[in-house]
């Protein structure tokens, strides 16, 4: 019974931690945009994610970490890749995202219809993931 209660408590903790991470990202992006450090305003949100990218810690129907670039014009593929690469090369951030139940990183703009998706699992650099045979 205690395990059940602690599971519920964990779920709420994870939920608030996810919200906090998204809020911090948006706040920093807004500050960077306002202080004219950034030419485009970035905004992160929680999306459904890609079902093919799911892992053991994925949250049901909320596995996507979506970064939307409010640029006013369609971003080209290279620009989207460069935004995604910054997140993917920050291993600490990727691990945090995975531990909080995200499995997909999505980057897209607000004007175009194109976007890119990455499987976070592949960029975590955890030996346990790559070497897991019983997963």
């Amino acid at each position: 019974m205690w395990s059940f209660i602690s599971n519920i408590q964990d779920w709420f903790n994870d939920f608030s931690e996810r919200r906090r991470l998204v809020r911090n990202f948006n706040l920093s992006a807004r500050e960077a945009f306002v202080s004219s450090l950034a030419p485009t305003l970035l905004e992160s949100s929680i999306s459904m994610g890609e079902s093919a990218y799911r892992h053991a810690f994925s949250k049901f129907m909320a596995g996507g970490f979506r970064i939307k670039a409010l640029s006013g014009r369609p971003l080209n593929r290279q620009e989207m890749i460069s935004i995604a690469q910054v997140v993917l090369q920050n291993q600490e951030l990727v691990r945090k995202l995975i531990s909080l139940g995200w499995d997909t990183l999505e980057v897209h703009d607000n004007a175009g219809y194109n976007g890119i998706k990455y499987k976070l699992y592949d960029y975590s650099g955890i030996g346990g993931i790559l070497g897991a045979t019983n997963y």
């Binding site: 450090l37 053991a56 090369q89 920050n90 691990r95 995975i98 955890i126 346990g128």
Partner: protein, 118 residues
């Protein structure tokens, strides 16, 4: 009265069995994850500085471009500093998207290659 009591027990039994099934599934999932869980859960409590992430996204590309132009090994071909430039350039490529690391490298480049970067 009897049927009411029976229903009570039935409800209790079904709730209990649902709980057991839930815990069983949870246990199976945990076993499946293995070492992965331990490693991933370690990073759950870590704090991420989002200002650094924003700097990596917005400021790192321009600084990388500038530094890679300044300390490219081809500029020091045939000179004493060629090997130093080679090493610094390799470090630069590794820190392409890390603004803090690029700032450190900038001062290193200025010291070791005797150049001033505006």
């Amino acid at each position: 009265m009897d049927t009411l009591l029976q229903n009570k027990w039935l409800i209790l039994c079904s709730v209990e069995s649902i709980l057991i099934i839930y815990l069983f599934i949870k246990l199976k999932k945990k076993r499946g994850a293995g070492n992965l869980e331990k490693e991933i859960l370690k990073s759950k409590g870590s704090t991420i500085n989002m200002t650094d992430v924003m700097n990596d996204i917005n400021l790192a590309p321009a600084l990388y471009k500038k530094l890679s132009r300044v300390c490219h090994p081809d500029r020091f071909a045939g000179q004493e500093l060629e090997s130093t430039a080679n090493i610094l350039f390799q470090e630069l490529q590794q820190a392409e998207n890390n603004y803090a690391a690029l700032c450190k490298l900038k001062s290193q480049i200025e010291k070791q290659l005797n150049i001033s970067i505006s």
